[in-house]
């Protein structure tokens, strides 16, 4: 058998989460899963397919370059992948909104009980996944003939180029069902790094009091080359858009440095960031749960601390 990875990409390049998913696939492959094939479906996505082919360990790339796959429709993608499933023991997607949307649709079509959001591979049929917002870890074994899996990107290194480039083969598009039509998208444009792959993340919570006050975080983010995130409370309050949300139902991040500002540390927020290497909390409530996971904490008014932090960072840069 073999392992199939359904790659999320932005045509010109693979998504960072896809690189982590490919590493996970190679691990499953080495533990008996077999060779790794990567599917790149999209429109004008040749560059992403070539990138996948150049990754160390990837045996084959299947490209389906067609307008039908331009907007990552789960319906179209499942119809494309279903006929391939007989040749693969594992089919992996990144556990991003792309993969979360698409994977279960395929899993049902191939009568497989999907294993969501795995963070470790014990062997080719046994995986570790978080449940209850990461407050428990379940080790589960799947005996399904085709194991459909989504992969937590922060738990695996990104695959790197190397070795002999894999062959890239064309995959014919499947018939369209026409049930769903893409209308449009509002993507948040930002010059800052992407939240899930940034080395440093600075997030604001309800304590920020308004969306305008996020400018204080943005200034520091620009000093540090950081991404800006938010707690659910800040998103619900309308301070920032939904794609800023870090947490159980938002984005899972694990940067080198995570700075939580005015965030109390609700379980569901901790679920999204507690695997960060170093956590800093700035909060005026010294009993806030965020301090229980923070390596460094400052108890104080964020409106006083943030300008001081900005000045201290500027001084450190000069010194």
């Amino acid at each position: 058998m073999a392992v199939l990875v359904i790659a999320q990409h932005a045509n010109a390049a693979l998504a960072p989460a896809s690189l982590a998913t490919i590493t996970c696939a190679l691990e499953i492959g080495a533990k008996g899963g077999g060779e790794v094939t990567v599917v790149v479906a999209g429109r004008d996505c040749r560059a992403a397919a070539d990138e996948a082919a150049a990754l160390d360990g990837v045996a084959k790339v299947l490209i389906s370059d067609h307008g039908m796959y331009e907007n990552a429709s789960a319906e179209a993608l499942a119809a494309l992948i279903e006929p391939l499933a007989v040749d693969y023991g594992h089919i992996l997607y990144p556990a991003t909104t792309y993969g979360k949307n698409a994977a279960p649709r395929l899993a049902a079509l191939v009568d497989s009980q999907q294993v969501s959001d795995i963070q470790a591979v014990i062997d080719a049929e046994t995986f570790v996944r978080p449940i209850y917002a990461g407050n428990a870890l379940a080790t589960v074994r799947s005996k399904d003939a085709v194991k459909v899996i989504t992969v937590r990107a922060t738990a695996f290194e990104k695959a790197a180029p190397g070795g002999t480039p894999a062959r890239v083969e064309d995959l014919a598009p499947a018939a369209a069902d026409g049930l769903s039509r893409f209308v449009g998208a509002e993507h948040s444009a930002s010059a800052r790094p992407e939240l899930t792959s940034a080395r440093v993340v600075i997030s604001g919570g309800r304590g920020m009091q308004s969306g305008d006050n996020f400018a204080l975080l943005e200034e520091i983010a620009d000093q540090l080359g950081a991404a800006v995130g938010a707690s659910r409370a800040a998103v619900d309050a309308g301070f920032v858009p939904n794609d800023f949300q870090v947490g159980q139902t938002g984005k899972i991040v694990a940067p080198e440095l995570y700075i939580a500002v005015g965030i109390s540390g609700a379980i569901q927020h901790l679920a999204g960031m507690k695997d960060s290497k170093v956590i800093v909390a700035i909060n005026k409530d010294e009993d806030a749960p965020i301090f229980q996971v923070a390596d460094y904490g400052i108890v104080g008014d964020l409106f006083e601390v943030l300008p001081q932090l900005k000045a201290a960072l500027a001084a450190a840069k000069q010194g």
């Binding site: 429709s73 789960a74 319906e75 991003t96 909104t97 792309y98 979360k100 949307n101 279960p104 649709r105 899993a107 049902a108 497989s112 009980q113 999907q114 046994t126 978080p130 449940i131 209850y132 917002a133 990461g134 407050n135 428990a136 870890l137 080790t139 589960v140 074994r141 799947s142 005996k143 069902d177 026409g178 049930l179 769903s180 209308v183 998208a185 993507h187 948040s188 659910r232 998103v235 619900d236 858009p241 939904n242 794609d243 159980q248 139902t249 080198e256 440095l257 379980i267 290497k277 170093v278 301090f291 229980q292 996971v293 390596d295 460094y296 904490g297 400052i298 001081q308 960072l313 450190a316």
Partner: protein, 249 residues
Amino acid sequence: MKILVAVKRVIDANIKVRVRHDGSGVETANVKMAMNPFCEIAVEEAVRMAEEGIADEVVLVSAGPGPAKETLRTGLAMGADRAIHIVTEETLEPLAVAKLLAAVAAREDPGMILLGKQAIDDDCNQTGQMLAALLGWSQGTFASKITIDGDTITVTREVDDGLETVALTRPAVVTTDLRLNEPRYATLPNIMKAKKKSIDPLTPDELGVDITPRLEVLRVTDPPAREAGIKLDTAAELVDKLVNEAGVL
């Protein structure tokens, strides 16, 4: 249009779960249970559609042991019209639930099925997508806005890089995200009224669905603990620690 809403009974979102010492799962005995928060949002959306005259009937479905009835009763008190309780003591996985719901959908013939995007116990985020696949319907996941115009259901979806809008042809499956609405609290008169609404029992056998679990849970453990660090007095001290001790700047 009839709307079917699937709801799940889970450990209350405000309870901190405890892993059982024998690693068999998390402690559920004497723990407060509630409707999964995402399911509440789905019920609220369906009830609002009924209030606006878009839906003519809102039917709830839940699968699980006896107390699932309480969760259905909660949804009826929010304004749903009637409920179906698929009674089973078995552990239910998302694929089995999707098959049960598909069988109910075949009987009920709804124009739309609403579900929460994920349950906060197993965090699977699968059932709605699986149900759409089994029925051969389109899917609109992680909805923050739903509008209905004739046979078209337009869904604004919360995705990793912002928002995306898809137009689905009815019937379709839609799963709810946090910003879709704020669920109401049931009022006392509505709680009383809900007691008179019907909850029809069904079994997996009657629906012709094999619910045998596919996954074997080998063990459930606590995640690695993170220890509280140190408190600092100034931002300058913090920067010094980040540079010289943690080495992350």
